[in-house]
């Protein structure tokens, strides 16, 4: 029972991450009609915003460690600590939450730059060319990060108060063994919040309504004299923010390296397609569905019966869904079918 509850949490947690990445991807598909292979790179960039913020905050006085003679080893004392004492240390410790706030404007700028600088020229081009150019862009972004930050994963801790596990079992009157990391609970909660925010934006603002109308029928909306183009640029920015914030929040769970984006790329495409191209609720539903199924398939009891099932379950589910429902869970007719 406890085990199942924990796996459900794991699944939802994973699902939150999948859904956030897929959300932006499907938004860009639906509105701009662009297959963005660089979307994973946005996720990775978000993670490195967190790394960069951490580095900046913990910028240090270098004190030479004299015990090591043959290379320069430094003991480091961050300026923040020197200037503000414990308060400074606390700020450094909270670098991940801070970086989430930083990531919003930074990712917006990156998103806008990407859309204006490159993507906008590819709206009318074939999907094949979109794939090639965005894949190239993803490689370039990855390599730049590699040059700047190295190829090794970089650890950034969650704030100490939420770095450890939360005693779920004690709260619920269940087993003591039922614990779950605070940060993962926060991640799940925040991803739900972000998803809700994106939906609210599309549902309740006039801006969002125009975008939704544009997703449904771009030409007509364009004929109404609305500058759909500019709104789509903003949509790309939003997709970048969602992916970037998801990446920044993911840092304490998964120390990021420059390859992080590629690792998530395929998965996020599977999520989007299982959800149905161009369907936002579909992407969210598919994200959570695949996350939960993957978690349950990884349980020892399941693996004893079907060895290796956890390695292929996502793909099996994808095949099953696509064969049962031609356009995924909630896909619209005619989107990306040719």
């Amino acid at each position: 029972m406890d085990a199942l509850l924990l796996q459900l949490l794991n699944g939802l947690d994973k699902g939150g991450a999948y859904a956030l990445i897929a959300l932006g991807l499907t938004l860009v598909f639906g509105t701009l009609g662009v297959v963005n292979f660089a979307h994973g790179a946005l996720f990775m960039l978000g993670a490195f915003v967190a790394v960069a913020v951490n580095r900046l905050l913990s910028f240090s006085v270098q004190v030479r460690d004299e015990s090591i003679t043959f290379f320069e080893a430094y003991k480091q004392q961050p300026y923040l600590e020197i200037w503000f004492g414990d308060l400074g240390l606390a700020v450094i410790a909270w670098s991940v939450p801070i970086s989430i706030l930083v990531a919003i404007p930074v990712m917006l700028l990156i998103g806008l730059a990407m859309e204006r600088g490159l993507i906008q020229f590819f709206y009318k081009r074939s999907h094949a060319e979109q794939i090639l150019v965005t894949f190239g862009l993803a490689i370039v972004i990855g390599e730049i990060v590699k040059v700047l930050f190295g190829a090794n994963p970089i650890p950034v801790q969650a704030p100490p108060a939420v770095a450890g596990p939360a005693p779920l079992g004690a709260w619920l009157g269940l087993s003591e063994n039922l614990v779950y990391p605070w940060w993962r609970l926060i991640y799940l909660f925040t991803s739900l919040l972000i998803i809700a925010a994106v939906f609210a934006f599309l549902q309740f603002t006039t801006y969002g309504m125009v975008v939704r109308a544009g997703m449904a029928d771009r030409e007509t909306v364009g004929l109404l004299g609305i500058n759909i183009q500019r709104r789509f640029t903003v949509v790309f920015g939003i997709a970048a923010i969602v992916a970037g914030v998801a990446g920044a929040m993911y840092v304490p769970i998964l120390p990021p390296d420059y390859n992080l984006g590629m690792n998530f790329l395929v998965l996020s495409f599977v999520v989007v397609v299982v959800g149905g191209m161009g369907s936002l609720p579909g992407a969210v539903a598919a994200g959570f569905l695949l996350g939960v199924i993957q978690s349950f398939a990884s349980m020892g009891a399941v693996k004893d019966i079907l060895p290796g099932i956890d390695q292929i379950i996502i793909y099996l589910v994808a095949v099953a869904v696509l064969l049962a429902r031609p356009r995924g869970l909630m896909g619209r007719k005619g989107v990306m079918e040719t």
Partner: protein, 388 residues
């Protein structure tokens, strides 16, 4: 929208010329590739093998427009089948290839039958899913068949039933794949691959020129019209899928012939993605484009990745010391461990400046030159344009 197709009216005579030139160019590759450091058997083989892979992929993607993101699975299956043929029966390359192609065709038939129930991105994700399942299984639970991470290799103690029956049990050392006694190593092996490439290209040319190929292309353009014109489109697509799967199987078994080893990462999505990139980079739907794309990517992978600081400093040696050093350091971002960066930049540049890939870019450039020459005909002496 309209892509350049090789269905531009051609004539048998022109095609014969194409084949002749192509054959000559391929067979003399060791000579003309020498100046750019690509004239060694392994890379030449790779050009040929990945050329075959991309040509085959192009028959599916270039003609029908169905983007398979899981084609590397058939490459891997071809390799595994060929190596098993070597291990169990005979080191004869032709047997191994026949088996590799056959097994790949079987898998392509089943996977294609399922995946072709969908189109567009749904088709792409279905093929991706099958290939990823194949990769993940081959890497782990199927290790008894695939030898997992360490890859399937030959062993002196392998049964090799046919070889032993014919040649006896004499050999102590590990045998090489052979063609009726001719050991396929080094340049011999390259020429074997080259012949296969020429054959593969010829088949592709024939398909491009056949009514079958024309129908595939028409399907890419308008499948609905195709159906109302009286064609049952599914079997056409399936046949195209199987043919391109067989090409992948041929490429995979050739990899095993040139280097008797089969590893799971050959089936990973990145490998499938690579052939997609090759084809688009060169120009999907063109005869030569995929070959170009394959050669360029493999060249980068093998030559650019191998440049290091010492060599670069030598290259810039004619400059003053500090400058040479600085230039070498900057260049180092793009070669050696930075070769991916160059690849990424090249992808972007090609798509931005040569829409439709290298081949279409070349067509456009020549067309522009032609037009210029035509408009300036009086000045340049009015070159006579061959009418097509």
């Amino acid at each position: 929208m309209a892509s350049i197709t090789e269905f531009n009216p051609s004539t048998p005579k022109k095609d014969l010329l194409i084949m002749a030139v192509f054959t000559a160019v391929v067979l003399t590759a060791p000579i003309w590739l020498a100046p750019i450091g690509a004239s060694y058997p392994d890379l030449l083989q790779r050009f040929a093998i990945f050329g075959i892979f991309a040509i085959g992929f192009n028959i599916l993607f270039g003609l029908t427009g169905y983007l398979s993101f899981g084609h590397a699975a058939f490459l891997g299956i071809g390799s595994y089948s060929a190596v098993w043929m070597f291990k169990l029966f005979s080191m004869n390359a032709l047997l191994a290839m026949a088996f590799g192609i056959f097994v790949a065709a079987l898998f392509a038939l089943v996977i294609g039958f399922i995946c072709l129930r969908r189109s567009g991105i749904y088709f792409a994700i279905l093929t991706l899913a099958f290939a990823q399942m194949a990769y993940n299984m081959a890497y782990s639970v199927l290790t008894p068949i695939t030898n997992g991470e360490t890859a399937l290799t030959l062993d002196v103690a392998d049964p090799r039933i046919i070889d032993r029956a014919i040649l006896g049990d004499a050999k102590e050392a590990l045998p090489s794949p052979s063609l009726f006694g001719l050991e396929l190593t080094g340049f011999t092996s390259f020429y074997f691959c080259a012949v296969m490439l020429i054959l593969a290209f010829w088949v592709s040319l024939k398909i491009f020129r056949s009514p079958f190929g024309l129908k595939l292309l028409a399907m890419k353009s308008n499948q609905n019209r195709m159906q109302y014109t009286g064609y049952n489109t599914k079997p056409y697509l399936l046949v195209a899928f199987v043919i391109s799967g067989m090409y992948a199987g041929l490429a995979g078994s050739l990899m095993a012939v040139t280097d008797p080893l089969a590893g799971a990462e050959r089936m990973q999505w990145t490998a499938s993605g690579e052939v997609v990139l090759m084809t688009i980079l060169g120009g999907a739907g063109t005869l030569f484009g995929p070959l170009f794309g394959a050669a360029i990517i493999k060249y980068f992978e093998n030559i650019f990745s191998a440049l290091n600081k010492t060599q670069l400093t030598e290259v810039f040696g004619f400059l003053p010391d500090g400058m040479a050093e600085a230039l070498a350091s900057v260049s180092l971002l793009f070669v050696g461990e930075g070769w991916h960066l160059t690849l990424g930049i090249m992808f972007m540049l090609v798509v931005i400046f040569l829409p439709g890939g290298l081949m279409e870019g070349i067509y456009r450039l020549t067309a522009r030159v032609k037009r210029k020459r035509e408009s300036g005909g009086a000045v340049s002496g009015g070159a006579v344009q061959p009418s097509e």
